[in-house]
């Protein structure tokens, strides 16, 4: 009995996943058949050389990683270049000397500016209050007319975000202007 079953399995009557679809259509293995490819025989020396090369590459990477293991990747933007530290003294300007009058007008100007900005800020707050009041009034009036419309109106609008706004700029953009792009050379060091 067992021998019969085993002979059946050799005849591949058991459904193999690649030969049958889920609908149990049996495709004959003969249809998928093709002449066997002749296996290339490689020189064992070449194979060994290849494997060695792979191994060496990985070893090199490991060595590099081990070397930098303790060292954190520096954030170059946050570090002062050594060149600048070296000639810092050359870069200091002659101290500017102003008369008392100039210093006083400067002081006055700063005070004037502070006052100006303060007034602007107050005006802004009032403006926001006024706009919010106007909207609240509109919504309240709407509620008096119809509760349903009111409930629709106070829904959150999901399409409003993200909101992208450009401008204003100092001069308007030039129509059809092609901005020439400069060349650059990537000099950042590789860390991996």
């Amino acid at each position: 009995m067992i021998s019969i079953i085993s002979s059946f399995s050799r005849l591949s009557l058991l459904p193999l996943p690649c030969r049958t679809s889920k609908l149990l259509f049996h495709t004959s293995p003969c249809l998928a058949g093709e002449p066997l490819k002749k296996k290339k025989r490689l020189d064992p020396a070449i194979i060994k050389a290849r494997e060695d090369r792979k191994k060496r590459k990985i070893e090199k990477q490991i060595r590099r990683l081990e070397k930098n293991a303790r060292q954190l990747k520096p954030i170059e933007e946050c570090e002062i270049p050594l060149v600048l530290l070296d000639n810092q003294k050359e870069r200091v300007r002659q101290p500017f000397k102003y008369s008392k009058g100039v210093l006083e007008t400067r002081e006055l100007l700063e005070k004037q500016w502070a006052k100006y900005k303060h007034e602007e800020h107050l005006a802004d707050i009032q403006l926001v209050d006024r706009i919010m009041y106007a909207q609240q009034k509109a919504v309240d009036e709407l509620r008096k007319e119809s509760e349903e419309l009111y409930l629709e109106a106070v829904q959150i609008e999901p399409m409003l975000l993200p909101l992208k706004i450009e401008g204003p700029s100092d001069t308007p953009s030039i129509h059809n202007y092609y901005a020439p792009d400069g060349d650059y050379q990537d000099v950042s060091r590789k860390w991996n």
Binding site: R93, R106, W113, I131, A138, E141, A153, L160, P168
Partner: protein
């Protein structure tokens, strides 16, 4: 505690009943209007104080700064030149670009570049119909509409139809009056302003509604121009001249002031 709740309930019910009474007595037409605003494209001119302070700040920044590579190079070259004049150093090939040359080249390039004009053709011909006017101002769109017997310029408005929310109505009104080419962004589902007016007696009897309640939506202009309409893009001062004072008050209440 209970008492106050009861009181509140009583208050609420009386409020509701008066509301119902009012509704049965007087019927108002619900209208929506859309205030389409074009934001400034260029920054407004600086005031005198802003200009002086700007100058002061840049002076101060220069004083506190360190010399740049360019300045160092320039100084070194000046020194070398004075040495050359004395004849201390023999002439070696100095064909490379000096700092002064570089500066001159940059200034020339800047002088040759033509920035776009802050004044547009529409400003010169005082054309109110196109959007590309007064680039440094907030502009509000008005369209010509028939109100009773006369045609006047108003924010685009229309009557709400059954089954519409106010926001949908506002979008429809804008599309009907300005076409679908103009792209806008509505600021939320709630109206920003409110205006109410009563009809003349004859109209009241005809339509048996007392007047109209206009709910104004705010939309930011994104692209395109209104089509097939008699329209005007007006800044704040021009709005003051164009709109009737009461209407102006309700519109100006939700607009940002301009200096």
């Amino acid at each position: 505690m209970l008492k106050t709740i009861n009181n509140l309930k009583a208050l609420h019910s009386t409020y509701l009943s008066t509301r119902n009474l009012q509704q049965s007595k007087t019927k108002w037409d619900l209208l929506t209007a859309v205030c389409v605003e074009r934001k400034p494209i260029v920054t407004p001119a600086l005031t005198e104080l802003e200009q002086t302070f700007h100058k002061y700040l840049s002076e101060k920044e220069f004083e506190l700064s360190l010399k740049s590579d360019h300045e160092l190079q320039h100084e070194a070259e000046l020194k070398q030149q004075s040495l050359l004049k004395k004849g201390d150093v023999d002439l070696d090939a100095t064909t490379k670009q000096t700092a002064q040359d570089f500066l001159d080249a940059c200034t020339e390039e800047l002088a040759q570049f033509k920035f776009a004009d802050r004044l547009t053709d529409a400003d010169r011909s005082n054309n109110l119909k196109v959007i590309s006017r007064k680039l440094d101002k907030h502009l509000v769109l008005l369209t010509k509409q028939k109100l009773g017997k006369d045609n006047i310029f108003l924010l685009p408005q229309g009557v709400r139809q059954d089954g519409e929310t106010l926001r949908q109505c506002a979008e429809r009104v804008l599309k009907e009056s300005c076409g679908s080419d103009m792209k806008t962004k509505f600021y939320g589902n709630a109206p920003c302003g409110f205006y109410k007016y009563t009809y003349p007696k004859s109209v009241q009897e005809e339509t048996d509604s007392v007047g109209a309640k206009v709910f104004i939506y705010f939309a930011r202009h994104c692209a395109g121009e209104p089509k097939d309409t008699d329209c005007k893009w007006l800044d704040r001062q021009e709005l003051q001249k164009e709109l009737n004072p009461k209407y102006l008050d309700s519109v100006a209440a939700f607009l940002i002031d301009e200096k």
